[in-house]
């Protein structure tokens, strides 16, 4: 995997923050992708399906356009099919149970200093880092 200039993640992050900020000030809602995905698929209580669908469709178009015009991402995926399935199940279940993911708790929640989001973000970052440590350095022996 090639190292990239910090300009890319910084610019991408600013766009994500602009998206979250605009969504709050214009539509009055948290731009959390797990919640929007659940809304879009009819799996959420309360959140309007139309808004979820609109946001997710926009996300897919935005990603496709940016890949074509700005930066073609080169994905490196080392996970086996089984690991992808287990990881996906855990991410889907966990984000709904914990009411948010990296965007809802991480970006929106930390921005408004929500104590719940501080705990959630600290928790999932720590568990994710610990998981990588166990997989790569204890089991993998790297």
């Amino acid at each position: 995997m090639e190292p990239i200039s910090f300009i890319w993640p910084l610019t991408g992050g600013l766009l994500v923050g602009l998206s979250a900020g605009l969504y709050l000030l214009a539509n009055g809602r948290v731009a959390g992708i797990s919640g929007l995905t659940a809304a879009a698929t009819g799996l959420s209580r309360g959140a309007p399906r139309s808004l979820g669908l609109a946001f997710i469709v926009g996300l897919l178009i935005g990603a496709a356009v940016a890949s074509t015009l700005i930066r073609q991402p080169v994905l490196t995926v080392t996970s086996s099919v089984g690991l992808l399935v287990v990881g996906g199940l855990l991410v889907g279940f966990g984000t709904r149970w914990g009411s948010g993911c990296t965007s809802g708790h991480g970006v929106c929640g930390l921005a408004r200093l929500s104590p719940r989001s501080l705990v959630a973000t600290g928790g999932f970052m720590a568990v994710a880092a610990l998981t990588v440590f166990v997989v790569r350095h204890i089991i993998g022996g790297a």
Partner: protein
Amino acid sequence: MVRLAIAVFCGLLFGAGMVISDMVNPERVLAFLDVAGAWDPSLAFVMGGALIPSSIAYLIRRRMDAPVAAETFHVPESRSIDLPLVGGAIVFGLGWGLVGLCPGPALAALTTGAWQAFVFVGAMLAGMVVFRLTVDRKS
């Protein structure tokens, strides 16, 4: 209609951000989480960059009675640290650390055509269905 257009526009910005930041790349995310290995700080810039406009927006919100295009704000007000919050964060963190994909990047990765993204997103939706049919089954 205005609200839907705003949602599409915010989605466009978000999706572009996922690709431009390279957060769609699971290996980049795992390298960020691998604090004991060859640590890649990239994602700290994504988080830091995102928090700048987001924090400003939440500060502006304090001076607003209602959003520009909707009647009321729908921002969670709960402050209780409970089992679902902590348990959900742990389960999510485990899945994120195993594969290196969280919901936003996973959806954006679909547009690259990588089959792994389709498997992951399919399982993620199944996980959300399981939650809806078990813990969230009230009615």
